[in-house]
Symmetry: C2
Subunit: 385 residues, 2 copies
């Protein structure tokens, strides 16, 4: 366990705003981040970690202060990758300097839809832009600039975090040496697009959503947000896990679902997951981040749909691509596509499938699976092996 | 194409109500049905066809009169299995008498949540019972009694219709000779339970649903119903089909989704499917039928979870079990389970997998695949081969 502390960096001001890839401008922009370990004198031992869809910059340790705000207070205080970050762990803080930033548009301290719009003095709500994965990565490049890190030893992250990993690797090829996407893919597949759209619709059509301008109304679109979480949750865990967990659930009377009687433990388990999530996440922020995923398509955006050409800037990097055998969110054939495109470019690449019965979430739940490869790769990259 | 005409049978009255398996009583109960072909003198050439989740009794021909009501008027008038029913077709009306009934609780003419509750003089709405698959089957047994059909030559149906087929075969083993479930399963799997619950939640938590008492309010929970359709639709067609269809879609400006800009053809395609569905179906009826599926578990209800014991009454029947290779709704391992339980009971059984790129809906879209087996099996059962 490592002590940690959230830091805030203003990467853009109202006068000198951040320009998104679609031309929209926003300022001021603050990015919340945390670091673990020490940056060495050469500034060449840094690892940038990207969080997943609903994660935060608080990846390890118990947060002692927190960035403030209700959502943060109600969320778990132990970092989401605590078992991966620390002395002797996958990201060994005795040797490496680990950085993790909260996404632009999120709700854990970085500027997002609940932040004050300087034009109105009120929360942005509906008027907050929809950042792309590239916009999110660009805000974090500003943090690296501030920290004086020209070239990362490595970047890693799972799921939506892996999208950021690959976007950075392709658009800033000279700024990273080792690239480690975990359980991710080059684009939102048709199934992901369908599932994401169901979630977007659930939130946007909740009567309390009011187009995103629900702050201060006393109501929140929690029904839509809970449903979105239920829709996504089943893709994060294996169905065997869902069935096992549901078996231990006692069906609780519920304050929702008037006119429908909850009769199945699977229903009660999912409803519990959905409602629990709404206590720690904001609907507008969720829409922003899921939209970044929805719009993500590296081959389309960078090379007219050609995956090999899209990854051609990566020739001097080393990649480790991780699959999870039971992944129902980013399927193994998606990682195979990454590896094929890397090989066609002669990029140094290892492809590793972790066999787990835990589904997509294995990248959060099973540090023992991933630690050896990451630990070894980082030491080798640093010249220590 | 066969001309057809909806008939109505009152199977229970207010004074002598229909008793559901949970003890609830409802009366009067009317069942809407259609028939094709002629019942022979021995009354042994009848085939009972069960419709799927959102189907109707109007399985073939153009309906000339219709049962009345807005939903029916707006729905397609050509029967959903028209290419399967008629002279020389799978269900050959030159030789067989085909019957199809609308489910209890549905919205195409049988008594359902929009029917008048005689206690109040108003539509049932919230107070309409939740029938099980067995309740639905029992209402149709009353129709067979009325028609003087003691023993069916065969019963068939796809998807949720297949659940009814198997429930009838197991609980009324002497009333059917040939049993043909298509793309179905012995129970709602954990994935089906999750997907069904998402849909139930979407409807029940729509602000316009009002616990089911939305008739006469001028509002309908169409947002929830459209979302439910989107969630289920992706399981009915293969993802390749979804991707191909979406490619031909032009993104339309939309009157919904304030605060979110539709940017992807997959989104536009799904939204179109969802909205189109709300013009032909009632939310309360949808909840009733999806709940029957959600609660369906033949091995649990009849034999403490033992699939072999559950199918033991079927020894004198002949079964044909159909799988669809790309089915993403009822998976082939579910049909394998049926077949294994039949074989353990020495039930005469053929197991046939149809290779299709169309997914679950192949049982509606590809008559050429299913016709030879069904055509041959019925003639053989009738002693004509």
């Amino acid at each position: 366990m490592t002590a940690s502390k959230t830091r805030f960096l203003e990467i853009a001001t109202r006068e000198d705003p951040f320009v998104l890839h679609n031309g929209e401008r926003i300022g001021p922009v603050t990015i919340a981040y945390e670091t673990w370990g020490e940056l060495n004198e050469k500034r060449d031992n840094a690892v940038l970690l990207f969080h997943a869809l609903t994660g935060s910059h608080h990846a390890a340790g118990y947060d002692e202060v927190g960035p403030g705000g209700d959502l943060w207070e109600k969320s778990q205080h132990l970092g989401w990758w605590d078992e991966f970050i620390g002395p002797g762990k996958a990201l060994d803080t005795d040797r490496f300097f680990v950085v993790c930033c909260n996404y632009l548009g999120a709700c854990y301290g970085s500027t997002g839809p609940a932040s004050t719009n300087p034009e109105t003095g009120k929360p942005y709500g509906r008027s907050f832009p929809y950042p792309t994965v590239s916009d999110i990565v660009d805000t974090q490049i500003r943090v690296l600039d501030h920290l004086g890190i020209d070239r990362l030893l490595a970047t890693t992250g799972g799921s939506v975090g892996g999208l950021c990993v690959m976007d950075l690797a392709v658009r800033y090829p000279d700024r990273v040496r080792t690239v480690i996407p975990i359980a991710s893919g080059l684009r939102a597949t048709v199934l992901a697009k369908a599932l994401n759209f169901e979630q977007i619709f659930a939130i946007a059509e909740d009567a309390s959503f009011r187009g995103g301008d629900y702050y201060g109304t006393g109501e929140e679109p929690w029904r839509g947000l809970a449903l979105a979480r239920m829709i996504s949750h089943k893709t994060f865990i294996s169905l065997d896990v869902l069935e096992r967990r549901a078996r231990d659930v006692i069906i609780q009377p519920t304050d929702v679902l008037s006119g429908y009687l909850l009769e199945h433990t699977v229903e009660s388990y999912l409803l519990h997951q959905g409602k629990k999530f709404t206590r720690r996440f904001d609907a507008n922020a969720y829409l922003r981040i899921i939209n970044a995923w929805q719009a993500f398509d590296l081959p389309r955006d960078l090379a007219g749909g050609d995956a090999v050409a899209a990854l051609s800037p990566c020739k001097d990097q080393e990649w480790i691509v991780f699959s999870i055998s039971t992944d129902g969110c980013f399927f193994t054939r998606e990682q195979e596509e990454i590896v094929e495109a890397l090989k066609a470019n002669d990029v140094a690449c290892q492809y590793v499938t972790m066999h787990s019965d835990k589904g997509h979430d294995a990248f959060l739940l099973e540090p023992a699976l991933f630690t050896p490869h990451i630990y070894f790769a980082l030491r080798k990259a640093a010249g220590a092996i």
